[in-house]
Amino acid sequence: MNSKQLTGILGEMAAAGYLKRTGYSILGKNYRCIFGEIDIIALKEKTIHFIEVKTRKSIEFGEPSESIDFFKLEKIKKCAWHYLFSNNCPDHQVAFDAVLIIRQKNRTSIEFIEDIIR
């Protein structure tokens, strides 16, 4: 495991912790299919949330939110379709969110963004 992967995994763990604290129950992590990967799938109030986690160690190369572009969103959408159909619930209420984490030396900031698609 290289340091980039480590950053990602640490970020996802932090995000999962944050979501649990705010009332989400985690349905799955790192859901992989042929279309790509969804970092966290969580349930809150009868809505399935597909959550993309983005972690950066510094904002020197841009905010984490800037790296989620149109193509990434399309990937997430397709993965979500895959998840919903393979779990037999295509008509469930669905939301797409993102957790943006900046891990700097002395402090970590976590930002939760709702409804990133549209």
């Binding site: 379709w81 008509d91 469930h92 209420q93 669905v94 939301a95 709702e114 698609i117």
Partner: protein
């Protein structure tokens, strides 16, 4: 959850009913508009979303499908922002006491700004008329469109300033009644009063010296809505005369005003008021075909429709391309233009008074009193050839405008001013109004054949001399009828019951223009 409201789309001058249907369901969040939307309609998704959030409501994180039905008609413009926003809020159960009675009897139209304010749209009169015709009770429109919409009777026009206010109105009938624009309000009676004089022109007939015959012709043309051509050397005052004809015409009647505003509001946003003064359009001779006749990718009314109930003045007529001149044949005769396209056709009215100004030849001094013409006979022939015969046949009056003599130009006596002439013209219009009451026509130039024959029957003098005139001047059938129509107008100006010989003689004087028998 399903929800439905009524809205309108423009098809030519008329509006058609569009029902905005919405379905909100679970599934991947998306917001789709179907029913042949164009770019502006599709972009309304972003405006609607922002407006809903900024008005303090929640935008549902669900699968939203909007259908604009009938789905095979192309939808263009920003009309559907407001109905879509209301439908989304209503379908996601965010209006607790929604009054379905109001919703089912209403039409909605409006562009949304991102903060939820409602902005004016075009074509509001056509839509209000349609809304009335399909027996809707209320019509919710943007506040700044109110003056135009008010002129449509028998429908409650509700003016809306922002999304929040309108959502209160659809649930509370009392709040709705507060915002109804009553037909008895002061602003409205002002706005529809056609007798108020609008002397907004900065030109006046008294500025014209001499040219008595041309002035007389202008007055006759204005009185009966006859087409008119001025021929003369440069600087004689052709354009000057033409520009002043609109100043002697009475302002539009209430009905005419609605018709004209309807056309103008299609072209761009006339958010504020009704148009009350007669249109005067003076297109340059480089005007495109679509610009003159109407048309374009999304068909819009052209200059001939914009001069509806007013004057279309074609200055330097000989410079207009031949094809444009020929295009005028049918509109001048039919008083409406149908623009046919692949999947639809658009009907625009164009009942205008055509005024043409042209030189008699390329150098401009053919038949001039003092200056010598430098054109060869061949050149003059070619020049007149370009002025299409069929179009010329449709011109009721031809007038030579000669250059002024020194005693005219230095004379101190001013001619009659526009206001005096205008009172005479409007008296003449009143006579015609009584004659044509309850028929489709308004002026002598539009009179039907039946009526024309009855005029000839009534007057023995005319009956006697007409055949001789017909043969002497080689008149066409149309020319003959237009001759009678012009004489009728001249008789009306003298308030005579029947056409007399002198009226006919004056009319034929305008019909026959010398220029070596060129036309």
């Amino acid at each position: 959850m399903f929800f439905k409201l009524a809205s309108f789309a423009l098809a030519g001058i008329d509006a058609i009913e569009i029902s905005v249907e919405i379905h909100i369901s679970n599934g991947l969040p998306s917001f789709t508009i179907v029913g042949l939307p164009d770019k502006a309609v599709n972009e309304s998704r972003q405006r609607v979303r922002a407006a809903i959030i900024n008005s303090g409501y929640k935008f549902p994180q669900k699968k939203i499908i909007v259908n604009l039905s009938p789905a095979d008609i192309k939808k263009e413009g920003v009309f559907y922002d407001l109905p879509v926003a209301i439908a989304i809020i209503a379908a996601s159960s965010q209006i607790p006491e929604l009054n379905m009675d109001i919703i089912s009897k209403s039409g909605f139209i409006g562009e949304l700004s991102l903060d939820g304010q409602i902005k004016p749209v075009r074509g509001i009169i056509s839509m209000a008329e349609r809304c009335r015709d399909i027996k809707n009770k209320y019509f919710f429109i943007p506040g700044s469109n109110i003056f135009q919409a008010q002129c449509i009777k028998d429908i409650c026009i509700v003016k809306c300033e922002n999304l929040k206010q309108i959502l209160k109105m659809v649930s509370d009938i009392d709040a709705l009644k507060e915002n109804l624009s009553g037909h008895s309000t002061k602003e409205e009676s002002n706005c529809l009063n056609p007798d108020k004089s609008y002397d907004e022109y900065d030109v006046d007939f008294s500025e014209i010296k001499g040219q008595l015959k041309a002035k007389r012709a202008a007055e006759i043309a204005a009185s009966g809505f006859h087409n008119l051509i001025f021929v003369g050397p440069p600087g004689a005052g052709k354009s000057m005369l033409a520009r002043r004809i609109v100043t002697i015409m009475p302002p539009l009647s209430a009905d005419e005003s609605i018709e004209v505003t309807k056309i103008y509001s299609l072209n761009k946003k006339f958010g504020e008021n009704l148009i009350k003064s007669r249109p005067f359009r003076n297109p340059h001779h480089t005007v495109s075909r679509a610009g003159l006749i109407g048309g374009g990718l999304l068909p819009k009314p052209g200059e001939i429709s914009l001069s509806h109930r007013g004057i279309l003045f074609l200055d330097e007529f000989s410079q207009f391309p031949r094809c444009l001149i020929e295009d005028l044949r049918q509109p001048v005769e039919n008083r409406c233009i149908v623009i046919s396209r692949n999947n639809s056709f658009y009907n625009y009215p164009c009942n205008f008074m055509l005024i043409i100004a042209t030189n008699p030849c390329n150098c401009g001094y053919f038949m001039d009193n003092s200056k010598k013409c430098r054109c060869s006979i061949k050149e003059i022939e070619n020049f007149w050839k370009n002025l299409s015969g069929p179009v010329m046949d449709r011109i009721d009056m031809r007038v030579n405008v000669a250059r002024l003599k020194d005693e005219d130009i230095f004379s101190k006596t001013a001619g009659e001013d526009s206001l005096t002439i205008k009172t005479r013209v409007s008296d003449c219009h009143k006579i015609q109004k009584i004659r044509y009451a309850k028929t489709g026509t308004n002026y002598n130039s539009e009179a039907g054949l039946k009526l024309i024959y009855s005029w000839i029957e009534k007057s023995k003098e005319i009956k006697k001399i007409m055949p001789a005139l017909f043969n002497t001047y080689h008149l066409s059938g149309r020319a003959f009828f237009s001759l009678i129509k012009v004489s009728r107008t001249i008789a009306d100006m003298e308030n005579k019951e029947d056409i007399e010989t002198k009226h006919l003689m004056e009319a034929i004087n305008y019909r026959v223009c010398s220029y070596n028998g060129k036309f």
